[in-house]
Amino acid sequence: MRDFIRPVFVIAWKDIMLELRTKDIVVSALVFALMVIVIFNFALNITPPMVDSLAPGILWLAFAFAGVLAMGRAFITEGDQGSLDGLLLCPVSRDAIFLGKMSSMFLFMVLIESLVLPIFVVLFNFDSISFKLIAIVLLGTLGFATCGTLFSSIAFNLRSREIMLPLLFFPVVTPIIIACVEASLGVITDTVNIIGTGRWIGLISVFDAIFLVLCPWAFGIVMEE
């Protein structure tokens, strides 16, 4: 077990160190997420009474768009000077490489979200932040990061990878986007809805579990040469 966990940490730490030095992913995705929020404000003309019902949609779209932007860069840095080949030649399993990459992407996304949420609170006078909402954000982000890392590894090797990642990513994460928006809406508006927030959270968890098993396996196939 230790032998499996250690490489995961080392690979994740490598990405974090790299990010600390370049600040490529987090800064660009954060600014992009803020842009999305600001543009939504103009597009939907949000007034204070509407904020609670619109917040989940706007937040999750901002997270998803920023996420896909961040995810697109997950393997770009590895492309330089064949460092991906070096990584693959390491005597560690492909699962460990995937989980390491995924953990760092998850951390970056959580960091972006933890900066976007307070700004959203200030800009829209949004005061319905709760621990439950944060838990939903974390669960949803886990699913995003898992799928995103796999599709990023696929898109990385394709021509016109910038367009292929969102095209692959969004149809597959449809269920999790629906579930996250609905669960957040349930928590924010605190209405007793027909389906119940619990079942939506259940769906997000099932999605996370399935893709946590499926994606490392698929990554092994994608990365074989």
Binding site: L167, P171, L203, I221
Partner: protein, 224 residues
Amino acid sequence: MRILLLFVVAILLSIDMFLIFMWAPTEVHMGHVQRIFYIHVPSAWIAFLAFGLVFLGSIQYLRTREQKWDNFASASAELGVIFTTLVLVTGPIWAKPVWGIWWTWDVRLTTTLVLWLIYVSYLMVRSYSDNHYQASRYSAVLGIIGVINLPLVYFAVNWWNTQHQRLVLGIGSTEAGLDPDMRTTLYFSLLAFSSLFVWLLWFRVFLKKTEDMVRENTRLGTDQ
């Protein structure tokens, strides 16, 4: 053999057209537009069959790494996308006069649309790959993920739909209320479309095999 099957398909489809447009009784409430049902339903059935075959072909390809399974899966995916497109086009044509709207975000409609998007990206991955081997592996992964993801999409959209109290729309009558002649036409249509699918799949796999042979023989020069 293939020519023979083509004959059978042509005859079946001609009889099918006759049944649909001349023989089947006109529906009382919907009128002639209801006849699109005999094309819509078999197309949907074939589309789901095709995506099921993509799943099987992908698993077999990853297990055996034989090119024929990849050919089978990708040919099936192409046909699946074509038939899903037919479903998505015929549906609104029927819905506008009957429901009064082109589209509703009903669970079956939305799931079909998401399915179509997944397999369009499947085909795009294939055409954007640098080499054949890469295309096969990537698309096999997608073919498997797409099908495993399907129940999740279905549940999510279904619950989401219930939550928002959409207009509940159905074809109006279940199969029990279907006129016997209409049912016969529908079943015959299913048979005709299935035979068309089998022939198209067979022919496409044959074409892919030929493409592979040409590629093998011209590999000396360029890599493409």
